[in-house]
Amino acid sequence: MSTDTTTTGTEHHFGEDITAIEPDAIPHEHKDLRDRDYVFIAFLLLILTALEVAASYIELGSLLVPILLIMMAIKFVTVASFFMHLRGDARIFSWMFYAGLFLAVGVYAAALTTFHFFAP
């Protein structure tokens, strides 16, 4: 957010801009990841996937679903943050994407709830 103070000759003084980002203010991928960092991240993702698969073979009872969902969310965010560079990129991209994601989760979860989806 940048606050604009150059408003002149008007009764309207709300220069606050919710999207304008000064070009210099864009984080220039300050943490420039190198190729081997990506390999490392991919390795982590692999381990997580392996853990997921392993978890599905172990008797975890009612814990299984939350554990799987948490690991899924970690993988999801990792790919979005690092492979898709949402971390370190302008924040508006995250807003756009996560707005769609949370909207989707919200409306569809609510709709499924009305079907008594979560009741046995």
Partner: protein, 671 residues
């Protein structure tokens, strides 16, 4: 065109008069890039947001007439008891297509027409962010609309009602191909809306002129932006629903068949998760338009601009949490009903904020009741009525009583006609001189307004009564012996509604007469309404490149502040006119940008759009056509990808009779 030839609009400087020939020297495959600036090619292949906006508007108006004629048939059928104008089947098709046409082929595209034309002008841009995608949206909508309407001649149109509930949408209940046309047609127009939404959002966020912060963006652009976000997120939801229905009807899936264990409520949820944001998609652009019109004709700034902006955004947000109020009668369960009831009541608040802001904008203003202003004030009154009857639906017990009666029909027509359509007409009258350089006739305009207002109230007002009396919607006949007595006799009110609908039709006819009689009006002045926003800094109609130079914005209502200076002392404001629009434009022209790059026309958007109905016909009739359509689409996409957005330097030769020598990209005559 990629090149702005400065001499052509300044004859004194153009040696030979005619525009220098610009010829492409390199072609892609067998096709040369289109370069025509006149004739049908200049429209079919254009990527100019203004031409695209006009074509959007013209196409939407044609569909408005089609949808209107369908409405008249419905009213004729219901004018008396045991109507015989239409068969039950034809009546089903009529009301389904009336609603579908009006919502998807008139209101959304008409709003898109304004958004396309006005957004770049209001934010000081030369075009939208993706001009070719813009052309793709237009043609996809046009072909999708035509495709949808060809079903009338190919076995009958869709007949399940515009929300196409299961099981009515299933093959046993709707055996013609009508529902398939409907499904595929809406998928196609959905692509148009989605592409347009991405394009216009990027345009508003990224293409603003220097100084045009988000809180200086004209209110119409703001409301259009919220609308585009709603489209962006709502379209995929209906896409899912339509795809499931398509698979059910064409590939024997059973997504909505109760006998197979399916849950028909799934369709209702998917449809209304899309459908309620859709209501705001319909009405928010009109809100934006009246928020432009009212201040201009009240000679006051919009009261509480940030409140109007944020209430618009709030509507856009809360609009996602109320969809199930369309489903109160479906047995959702008390908790769901209670939650959605409260959410529905809550959404009345930001809407009320807007109405208060409009009223206070007019309060104490120097009102000029031009036709545009009349339509805008008409919207405030009519929409308030529709809004109030809407709040009665949020009360679930009351809603259960009203569901599927004419009371609902009355409500949403006050909202859609009284809200969206009146707002769109306000916009047409207000921006007509901007778009066509001529004013519309005010006398015909007023006749147009008053007949439409009287007509709509006679048509939709009585529907409250017959609805509360229990006349169900979508019944193709009513009978005398169940019509009731006295004041509440539904026979009488049905007749009134039918008469009203014809008065309304005459009102719309007056509009077209007005367009016809106004065609030879003298050129409009640069600033006929003493307007406030940036689009009036461009000429009427704007040049292909919109602005002589990219404007620098210093204030909300930039144009007003360029025309008027505050000479008030201290806190007192006293505005004195210091410049006319003509003078401001003259300054712009004198300081015009020498180098203007505009995107070049392209064949590919229209070709790619054309492939979609081909594929759709193929899905209904023959796989071979699908393959043909996919082939066309593939060629078009590769053509698109291989074609630079702006014509390459080497594609142009220096103009004949020019200063010769080296090929130059800009043919510039500096003053």
């Amino acid at each position: 065109m990629a090149i702005i030839e400065r001499p052509t609009d300044t004859p004194a400087l153009a040696p030979s008069g005619g525009a220098p020939a610009v010829t492409p020297t390199r072609s892609y495959g067998y096709l040369r890039r289109p370069v025509q600036t006149t004739g049908w090619r200049s429209w079919a292949f254009t990527v100019d947001h203004k031409k695209i906006g006009i074509m959007y508007g013209v196409a939407a108006m044609l569909f408005f007439v089609v949808g209107g004629v369908e409405a008249l048939f419905i009213r004729l059928q219901l004018a008396g008891p045991e109507g015989t104008v239409l068969s039950a089947d034809a009546y089903n098709q009529m009301f389904t297509m009336h609603a579908t046409t009006m919502v998807f082929l008139f209101v959304i595209p008409m709003a898109a027409a304004f958004a396309n034309y006005m957004i770049p002008l209001q934010i000081g841009a030369r075009d939208v962010a993706f001009p070719r995608l813009n052309a793709l949206s237009l043609w996809t909508f046009v072909f999708g609309g035509i495709f949808l309407n060809t079903s009338w001649f190919l076995g009958g149109a869709a007949d399940g009602g515009w929300f196409m509930y299961a099981p009515n949408s299933a093959v046993p209940f709707s055996p013609s191909n009508g529902v398939d046309y409907w499904t595929l047609g809406l998928l196609i127009t959905g692509i148009a809306s989605l592409v347009g939404a991405v394009n216009l959002i990027v345009t508003v966020l990224n293409m603003r002129a220097p100084g045009m912060t988000m809180m200086r963006v004209p209110i119409f652009t703001w409301m259009a932006l919220v609308t585009q976000f709603l489209l962006l997120f709502a379209m995929p939801v209906i896409t899912v629903a339509l795809v499931l229905l398509l698979f059910q009807r064409n590939y024997d899936a059973t997504f909505f068949e109760v006998a197979e264990g399916a849950d028909p409520l799934l369709w209702q949820h998917l449809f209304w998760i899309f459908g309620h944001p859709e209501v705001y998609i319909i009405v928010l652009p009109a809100f934006g338009i009246v928020s432009e019109v009212l201040p201009v004709f009240s000679k006051k700034p919009l009261f509480g601009y940030p409140f109007v902006v944020f209430s618009g955004a709030a509507i856009g947000f809360v609009g996602w949490g109320v969809w199930a109020h369309h489903m109160f009668a479906s047995g959702l369960g008390p908790i769901s009903v209670a939650v959605f009831s409260v959410a529905t009541m809550a959404i009345a608040v930001p809407t009320g904020v807007k109405i208060i802001n409009w009223t206070l904008t007019m309060w104490g203003g120097k009102l000029r009741f031009t036709t545009a202003m009349l339509f805008a004030t008409g919207l405030i009154v009519m929409f308030t009525i529709g809004g109030l009857s809407g709040v009665t639906h949020s009360v679930a017990p009351s809603d259960t009583q009203q569901t599927d009666t004419y009371y609902i029909v009355a409500h949403f027509h006050y909202v859609i006609f009284g809200g969206a359509v009146l707002g769109l007409f306000a916009g047409i009258y207000y921006w007509w001189p901007k778009v066509f350089g001529k004013l519309l006739n005010e006398s015909w305009g007023k006749a147009n307004f008053w007949t439409m207002i009287i007509g709509m109230n006679l048509t939709f007002g009585p529907m409250h009564i017959v609805g509360l009396q229990g006349q169900p919607r979508r019944m193709y006949v009513w009978t005398e012996n169940r019509a009731g007595d006295g004041f509440f006799n539904i026979g009488f009110w049905n007749l009134v509604a039918t008469i009203g609908s014809f008065i309304l039709a005459v009102g719309v006819l007056f509009f077209f007469i007005n367009v016809w009689v106004s065609r030879k009006n003298p050129p409009a002045p640069a600033d006929p309404w003493d307007a406030r926003s940036l689009e009036w800094m461009a000429e009427n109609p704007p040049k292909e490149y919109n602005f002589e130079r990219t404007p620098t914005v210093h204030a909300l209502d930039e144009m007003f502040h360029r025309k008027y200076e505050d000479v008030g002392e201290g806190d007192a404001h006293d505005y004195v006119k210091v410049a006319t629009a003509e003078e401001i434009q003259a300054v712009e022209t004198a300081n015009r940008d020498d180098h203007v790059h505009l995107p070049s026309p392209s064949y590919w958007p229209i070709v790619l759009s054309f492939s979609l109905p081909v594929i759709a016909y193929g899905i209904i009739y023959s796989t071979l056509l699908v393959i043909v359509g996919l082939a066309i689409a593939t060629v078009a996409m590769f053509g698109w990808a291989l074609e630079p957005p702006t014509a390459d330097d080497s594609e142009f030769e220096s103009p004949e009779g020019g200063d010769g020598g080296e090929p130059s990209k800009e043919l510039v005559a500096s003053v």
